[in-house]
Amino acid sequence: MNRSSKLSKVYLALVFIILYTPIFYLIFYSFNSGGTMSSFKSFSLEHYKAVFADTRLIMILINTIIIALLSALISTAIGVIGAIGIVYLKNRKSRNALLSLNNVLIVSPDVIIGASFLILFTMVGVKLGFASVLISHIAFSVPIVVIMVLPKLQEMSSTLIDAALDLGASKREVLSRVIIPYIKPGIFAGFFLALTYSLDDFAVTFFVTGNGFTTLSVEIYSMARAGITLTINALSGLLFIVTLLLVLGYYFVTNRTKNPLRTGVPK
């Protein structure tokens, strides 16, 4: 028993080391004054300065954030309304059909989504660039929001709505005062997930972005294909901090909404 628990600790430690080594390796060399990822000369912040001095890179960063925020917001709106619609559907067959349609986009490989959207945008005549990237990010985020919101809606008792209606609430009030507050954790989870999917997406964006518009992932790809530049390392250091903050923020928000009692107690 003791031996196996020791073995398990060693194994888990090994997995953790392997998972985190590449990330810390990147960040470590972002402070290298030399230009390579193999020999560390001396500590320097020059690559971070290079990131902030590169206006093109900063523009790309801003574009990426704008796309992520906008697509997360819009897909959350569409997804929440869609999830409410699905729950209200009385017909079991059409509800299941809609749900499997919903799952198609989640399971579909990025390459397929990217390639088929490229055809779609070209046929419809949407210019490849900001609009096409934004629309595709909304498209693949909507099903995720639906998946996150649906369980919350299903566990909500319909008597709550009946009670509100009996007490004279209008339909709009039922939505804004009863349903939305109840499913808030699901909405937050969906929004954060949509945000991270958008920030992380490479393949779909790579297909549907034109010449003039780039997001961070696509830019890193073209930089990495050209070879090693420590600017990417500095970027990864910055992104790692942002990611950590996002994860912490997400857990803070979801845990707070999960335990409303706990927040009432001052610490």
Partner: protein
Amino acid sequence: MQNNTNRSYYLVPYFGWMMLFVIAPLVLVIYFSLFDLHGNFSFINYQNFFTSVYLKLTLSSFWYAFLITAFTLAIAYPTAYWLTKTKHKQLWLLLIIIPSWINLLLKTYAFIGIFGVKGPLNKLFESMGIGTQQILYTDFSFIFVSVYIFIPFMILPIFNSLDKMNPTLIDAARDLGSSTWTTFTKVIFPLTINGVKSGIQAVFIPSLSLFMITRLIAGNKVITLGTAIEQQFLVTRNWGMGSTIAVFLIMFMVIIMILTGQKDKGALSNEQIK
């Protein structure tokens, strides 16, 4: 009655969105697969797909996807199992998940440095007296990086199904005299098979369609269906052939989903994303 018609308005934006971005693209891909390079209707792309070039490509793509999935499962299952035994398991799980939130491109880029000719791994080889090896642009580096990327996605569903399992069942098996190994093969593994299936689904299908990792880590070789699609669409600009490969990839995807499908649909959607 009036209630019902009102409520179905909720579905309009969502339904329209799904028609436009699920059905329409699917129809367009199938439509485009029926045209040759000059815009004439033909089945030439399908004929081409059944030539040795594309059949070999499909086979190699499946072989790599199989290897990636097998290694990922072999590493992820014990990790998930022992994670459920730790004290603060949710915290540890979060720590396992965090790397998967780091931008995919950055993680892949890190391996260009690690596996490079002057990278730390080669330095280790040299100090051990093996000498410098070409690691980048080999099958090993491709599979290693892919497994690295997919591990958290395999751990998550397996962890969830292990976590849901009733621990008294294991005690019962032990009391009835079964060995640790028998308990695992007869009790634990069958009870967590749904998690394993969702994990396989979450790894195998993306493995077939990788193209970024093949380009950056495996060199410019076209060894997966995803790389072939990217090549046809963005390099040679033969949308017809690209769409044909996409049609087959969609078919493979559906088959895999049926094979790894679960009777309990609700459990699946809950497990995939927690």
